[in-house]
Symmetry: C2
Subunit: 304 residues, 2 copies
Amino acid sequence: MPSLIECVPNFSEGRRAEVVDEIVRTVRQIDGVTLLDYSRDETHNRSVVTFAGSAEPVVRAATAAVGRAVELIDMEQHSGAHPRIGSVDVIPFVPLGATRMEECVDLARRFGEQIARTYELPVYLYGEAALRPGRRRLADVRRGQYEGLKAELGADPERDPDFGPKRPHPRAGAVAVGARKPLIAFNVNLATDDITLAQRIAETIRESSGGLPAVQAMAVQLENPGQPRYAQVSMNLVDWEQTGIARVVSEIRQLARQFGADIDHCELIGLAPAGALLEVAAEALALRGFNADQVLELRLAKDR
Amino acid sequence: MPSLIECVPNFSEGRRAEVVDEIVRTVRQIDGVTLLDYSRDETHNRSVVTFAGSAEPVVRAATAAVGRAVELIDMEQHSGAHPRIGSVDVIPFVPLGATRMEECVDLARRFGEQIARTYELPVYLYGEAALRPGRRRLADVRRGQYEGLKAELGADPERDPDFGPKRPHPRAGAVAVGARKPLIAFNVNLATDDITLAQRIAETIRESSGGLPAVQAMAVQLENPGQPRYAQVSMNLVDWEQTGIARVVSEIRQLARQFGADIDHCELIGLAPAGALLEVAAEALALRGFNADQVLELRLAKDR
């Protein structure tokens, strides 16, 4: 079976729909690539496109999308709530199915070198593809953002890119290219509007403050007209095989109850690997001897 | 997207491995068909083969498998614990993915007519494909089994087949061909060896005695060496969208607790549709706005 790789580039444009549509169209045109999802956020002024396929078409689609973004998105004109270093802020490659992480690491490095050359773009390798240990975390690569990078790139050898010129691209800035496991964006909405409780819970469970491994968490106050004002614990589960959905939810439920609150409901944002949800089902049922090959559609997909 | 159809023929041979292997080999040889599962039971003297594909290759594989079974399995020599009417006892067609039930009904009828002609086999249409209301339930079609059918077929017009001769095939008997929804074989093992409790629960929840719709249930005493003696509620969920796994398990848990017992663990036998397990996960998490397209592998399979 050929390897199956997901690519999730993030673009620094969330307001001009026609620009995002053009990038999506570019991806869609590549044979052998399946567009899985895309979303545009005006507040963040940022868009996320998700597609998958085997290595070769995925690289072709990612390269073409970077080309369009370099052309159409000018970082000199960009502002938004979300940290970013370039027109294409970050391009992770994610192994799906039986594909090995090493393959995505190799791919990210080859791809990074290639776009650095083609578009004269400084490229930082992050995640599993990082060549410097200080660049594994995306937040570290993104420190100071586009504006900071303009000042430091070329002046501070610590900020030298892994590939490409030692100066930002005049319009497109720089880009982080990496390999990572599938990430699950998962929110727990508490049956309360007490944001300090959500904050306390987020701080307790997130890895960076000594909580659960591979969990990033923050508190968000939800204010949607016509809906209750939920206090939300908004999370990225960056390695669900380390800390899964069920574990996180049971932890949050316990913490909420300690303060007389509870979980109202949960939300899955975007895509999640089947295994992460099947694990929840298997746990809820105390299912013995279960494996994902017993799921008809997964068994079928495997042989195709 | 071409339709995707599952076929689950049951053969009246579970003791001669070489015969079952030969039938499985016959199915495997057909291009465009994926063999999903097969199992052989010595006590029942019966085997179940599961495969899937689009209509045309599935029909070709089923036809070839019937041919081998008619050749290799002689009902005059057959005895076993499981009710049966022929060398191939029953052949259900099951719609998968976006395939509609009507397509499987048409397919079952065309296929039934064709094998009746090719192999001079009396064919009874059952399930959604039934032409007579009294033949919807497989148990009714199978009444009297092979031996009873030999006496009644030709003598009693009520037993006239839908296709084929009004006499059993001299070696292969008759066959039931039908269309049905995916069926989930699911067992709940109680934390007790009290078989009368399992019997009481099975009777309370099964549809035939006024319990949950689309649930077949019986009690089984599990006696596996080196394991606790569980009393088991063994079920077929014949329409999980009507009564799902979570519903059945919560009902059984409640009943067991009324008698001071509880559920020890559950078992999924063979294959289940992804939706049935995702429903369990979504319920356990109180997941709002979830749909199966958010599952990476299912989303990918859809576009292929």
